[in-house]
């Protein structure tokens, strides 16, 4: 299991959108999904997840519906909207460009500078 890392400011919304895009999921499920995919590398403060979910819903990027969890508990399930899917694409592209640029910069040697 890799060492856990704090998530970068501004990236929580992208992570949540991605997690929700993989299938309808409740709040706790979003948390578990991010942890599983990142193999525990990304730790999100549990309560802080909800303002992000509410913000995305407020912007019309995700929608919610009450349902039953695997353990038969009543839970609110989130689903990506079409606007959310478009936004996820845009944000992912931005992130990849940034990531490549960051990697390139960080991989630079004294000769390249």
């Amino acid at each position: 299991m890799p060492e856990s890392a704090d998530i970068l400011p501004g990236t929580l919304d992208l992570l949540v959108l991605k997690a929700v895009s993989l299938g309808d999921v409740h709040g706790y499920g979003v948390l578990l999904r991010i942890q599983e995919i990142s193999e525990g590398a990304l730790q999100i403060q549990q309560g802080a997840l909800y303002p992000a979910l509410y913000r995305l819903q407020h912007d019309g990027l995700i929608e919610s519906e009450w349902g039953r969890s695997d353990n038969n508990r009543r839970a609110k399930f989130y689903r990506l909207t079409r606007a959310g899917a478009r936004r996820l694409g845009v944000e992912r592209e931005k992130w990849e460009r940034l990531s490549v640029a960051m990697s390139t910069v960080l991989a630079a040697t004294p000769q390249e500078a």
Binding site: H26, G27, Q57, N71, K76, A83
Partner: protein
């Protein structure tokens, strides 16, 4: 761009849901958080952690729930709403402020308690006129009337129209008609005149108001030769018949003829206006022709709206008459709310009256002026609390929070003031006897000026508007400054708040308006006082005259031959001659003048044209009176030019007229009025469009109470039998009050059929115009009170504030030996300049308006008189203004250096 719009729409939807389903939102959020913690607990338990420990860890990992909730609310855009939400603490604080600053509370509440009902009045009145009849909550009963588009006036339909519409209209379930009259009824040996109505049998079917006892009138009662029957009103039954439960079937004498009482109507029913007796519509009851005017009303058929009914009647038109007049040809039938059947407003109601919008805006402007002044006071009060606000800001209160707090405080004040004002007006309207004010006539039973839920809601709306102006604007101005910076300075004293130009402008405007209104009120009051002096009032010694009204009740009941209008006129003429002759025989009676309006009484205004004057084709409104040929002689009114009337003037068609000097001057200028021709613009009166030759000119005799000397007047000769009701002006040798009852008894004995009014000394006759003038004067007095109170309290607040701000400076300057007078002047200078400027601006305005209106000063008033009145007004208003500086000035003089330094240091 489209994604931006989509996001904005999504946010608006989400915000809307958050606002409208706030409780649900909060409940779901709590449930979601709880579900999360439960799932985490289960997860940990599955990993082998004991449940209590798992639960504790789940809570710890989740973090501070309330903080997350707050963040979630912010994320949903609901946080600003929480700042705006009224809290009971704000309301309680507002109430505390009312008690803490009683002076401000009284002044501001007074201003708003007057301003809010004023702002409400136009719409309330418009509503009252269009309200349905009490027995018709569904508003299906409508009146039908004519509208004359040329004269912008209403006209009554005729009997022919009633029959025509009954046959032609399909959008109404029934058409009814009524004519009102005064009849004499004999009960228990006493005769009395009773307002009555002749109604068609369909009337009761339309109104659907069952009788309290017996029955209403039916179709059988209308048949020729049917027994004479009558239905009594509740008041008449109670007052004249002692509420006898066995009244039905009894015989009473109505207009001298026996009638069987078939029913008694319930309390409150006085259709169509204030009637107490209903008789069937039959020619032998009230003779008439096809052209007799008739009130017409309908019940809309099921499923037919007023617009559809109007379209139909517009298409159907008027009843075809053999020889219609020019006026009748242009009349347009209209289906209107019942209350509008005689009121001369267009079909659209008061809203459609030209100038009504202006009055409504004016009323709102007056409210805004009051609210603006209250804003000034709130500003002064809030400025004193500046440090408290700064501390609250430092403790985390946002600007919106503070503004909303001040708004709620002001709203508490405004709502209380609105409640007080509206309830007070409602009580006053309830206590006033409008019937008495209107000259003895009863008001229509359907006219209710009382408070309605709709008006109460509007008053609340106006209170919110007033609170927004009076609370939010000062709060925004104060919180817009650097509160934090001021907090730092606060220790050093001084809030750094200054009253701006708007405040100064308001005080100047208040003083200017006060001077203007006080001047007009003074002039009006003096004018009214002048009019109490009888000789000024009319061109005759009114204090020597007794006025007596004589009405002939309708007779010509079943069986009487030739019962028609001519017979009535003949009887009236005989009565008039007999009564006048009998009075002249009486010792102490010098003369008897007969007219439809005596000097000082309100004369009917009618449009009059001059032959050959194309510029005044629609006519000029002139007060008119129809008078007996001996009228001027009986009044000792000299004919200044030409001649008075004589018997020849009333033989055949009337073709002569006498005018007063004002009319002669206005219509003919310097040229000779004698021989010129004028005519009353046709309204269907007996003189019609007949040209009249001016045969004489008389002086001012007085045509109404308000401007007895000022208006143009036209006198038309009227033969005995053509004036009804008769106004008798009896010139007596001694005081008229002593002869009053004797002469009334004499007239009653001479004309036993007639209904004689209460005798009034002519000098005491007060009619509609007088009450209107008194109402205007009273309204102005109230306005003056509001303006002067506002101006003086504004000055007081500002001076007090200036002193509290400069206590330290004053103390030190005093200690350094500055003369006290200089200190006082330095503080009061601004206020004194504002008062002076207001007076300077108000004086010319007041002069202009007072001269324009000519109020109180009569014709040819000297400019000096007007200026003296205005000087007095300036003096009064300035004295009040300066007086409001006195209390704070005393405080300045008491300030000691040591005390000032200790207080502020």
């Amino acid at each position: 761009m489209s994604s931006w719009i989509a996001r904005m729409l999504a946010r608006l939807r989400s915000l809307g849901r958050g606002v409208t389903r706030r409780t649900e939102f909060e409940r779901e959020m709590r449930e979601e958080f709880r579900a999360h913690i439960d799932m985490r607990t289960d997860h940990l338990v599955r990993q082998g952690v004991p449940r209590p420990e798992a639960r504790r860890r789940a809570h710890l990992e989740f973090g501070h729930e309330e903080a997350h909730r707050e963040s979630a609310r912010r994320a949903r855009g609901l946080a600003w709403l929480d700042h705006l939400r009224f809290s009971w603490i704000d309301v309680r604080l507002g109430l505390r402020m009312l008690v803490k600053h009683p002076g401000l509370t009284l002044v501001a509440a007074f201003a708003l308690a007057v301003g809010i009902p004023v702002g409400l009045a136009p719409t309330h009145l418009a509503d009252a006129i269009e309200r349905p009849l009490p027995e018709d909550p569904a508003n299906r009963v409508r009146a039908v009337r004519f509208w004359d588009p040329v004269m912008a006036h209403t006209a009554l339909p005729t009997t022919a129209d009633l029959e025509f519409w009954s046959a032609e209209l399909s959008g109404v379930s029934a058409v009814g008609g009524f004519r009102t009259l005064s009849v004499q009824i004999d009960a228990e040996g006493q005769a009395a005149a009773v307002p009555a109505a002749v109604v068609t049998a369909s009337a009761f079917e339309i109104l659907r108001r069952p009788a309290l006892l017996g029955r209403t009138l039916g179709a059988a009662d209308e048949a020729a030769g049917a027994p004479a029957v009558a239905v009594l009103g509740y008041d008449l039954w109670s007052a004249r018949f002692g509420a006898d439960p066995g009244i039905v079937g009894r015989t009473v004498r109505v207009a001298g003829e026996p009638h069987t009482v078939v029913g008694v109507m319930p309390d409150g029913f006085r259709f169509p206006m204030a009637q107490q007796l209903w008789l069937p519509h039959r020619d032998d009851v009230l003779p008439g022709t096809a052209e007799s005017p008739m009130g017409v009303f309908v019940r809309l058929a099921d499923g037919v709206g007023p617009d559809a009914a109007q379209s139909e009647i517009t298409r159907v038109g008027r009843a075809p008459l053999p020889d219609p007049s020019e006026v009748r040809n242009r009349l347009q039938p209209e289906i209107v709310p019942f209350g509008m059947f005689t009121i001369g407003v267009p079909r659209g109601g008061l809203e459609a009256v030209e100038g009504f919008a202006f009055f409504r805006i004016l009323a709102l402007v007056l409210l805004m002026v009051a609210a603006g002044n209250v804003a000034m006071l709130i500003f002064a009060r809030t400025a004193v609390r500046f440090r408290e606000l700064a501390v609250r800001t430092a403790l985390g209160a946002g600007r919106i929070r503070i503004v909303s707090q001040i708004f709620v405080e002001t709203l508490v004040l405004a709502v209380l003031a609105a409640g007080l004002g509206v309830v007070a007006v409602d009580r006053i309207l309830g206590a006033l006897d409008f019937g008495l004010l209107a000259g003895g006539a009863d008001l229509p039973y359907w006219l209710d000026l009382g408070l309605t839920p709709r008006s109460a809601m509007r008053a609340l709306g106006l209170a919110i508007v007033a609170a927004t102006v009076a609370g939010v604007i000062p709060a925004l101005r104060l919180t817009g400054r650097d509160i934090q910076g001021t907090l730092k300075q606060a220790g050093g004293g001084g809030s750094n708040v200054r009253f701006g130009r708007v405040t100064a402008g308001l005080i100047v405007a208040d003083v200017a308006l006060s001077v203007t209104v006080v001047s007009i009120a003074f002039a009006l009051a003096r004018g009214m006082n002048d009019r109490l002096v009888a000789r000024d009032l009319a061109g005759i010694p009114a204090e020597e005259y007794l006025a007596l009204e004589l009405r002939m009740p309708v007779t010509g009941m079943a069986g009487e031959e030739g019962s028609d209008r001519a017979l009535f006129a003949q009887r009236l003429a005989t009565t008039q001659r007999t009564v006048v002759d009998r009075l002249l025989d009486e010792p102490g009676v010098r003369s008897v003048a007969v007219a439809d309006a005596l000097p000082r009484m309100e004369h009917t205004a009618r449009p009059v044209q001059v032959e050959g004057d194309e510029s005044r084709r629609d006519g000029v409104w002139v007060r008119t009176a129809r008078v007996d040929v001996d009228f001027f002689r009986a009044l000792d009114a000299p004919v200044l030019q030409g001649r008075g009337f004589d018997a020849a003037d009333v033989e055949g068609v009337v073709s002569s007229a006498v005018v007063n000097t004002v009319l002669a001057q206005r219509f003919f200028g310097e040229s000779d009025p004698l021989g010129r021709r004028i005519r009353v613009v046709d309204r269907g009166g007996s003189t019609g469009s007949q040209w009249l030759e001016v045969v004489g000119v008389v002086g001012h005799l007085g045509t109404n109470m308000v401007s007895p000397n000022g208006g143009p007047a036209l006198y038309l000769p009227a033969a005995p039998g053509t004036i009804h009701p008769l106004q008798l002006g009896i010139h007596v040798a001694g005081p008229p009050s002593e002869a009053a009852s004797r002469l009334r008894a004499l007239v009653a004995e001479t004309a036993p059929d007639a209904v004689i009014g209460a005798p009034v000394e002519l000098v005491r006759v007060r009619q509609g115009d007088w009450y209107l003038a008194m109402g205007v004067a009273g309204g102005m007095a109230l306005l003056v009170l509001v303006l002067v109170t506002l101006a003086s309290s504004g000055i007081h607040a500002i001076v007090s504030f200036a002193i509290s701000e400069r206590t330290r400076e004053i103390g030190i300057r005093g200690a350094l030996g500055a003369p006290r007078a200089d200190l006082v002047l330095s503080i009061l200078r601004r206020s004194l300049i504002q008062i002076g400027l207001g007076a300077l601006l108000g004086a010319p305005l007041a002069t202009y308006i007072t001269l324009q209106l000519g109020v109180g000063t009569g014709a040819g008033a000297a400019l000096g008189t007007v200026l003296a009145t205005i000087g007095l007004a300036v003096a009064v208003v300035s004295a009040v203004g300066v007086g409001s500086c006195l209390v704070p000035t005393r405080r300045i003089l008491k300030i000691q250096a040591s005390q000032a330094l200790r207080a502020e240091g």
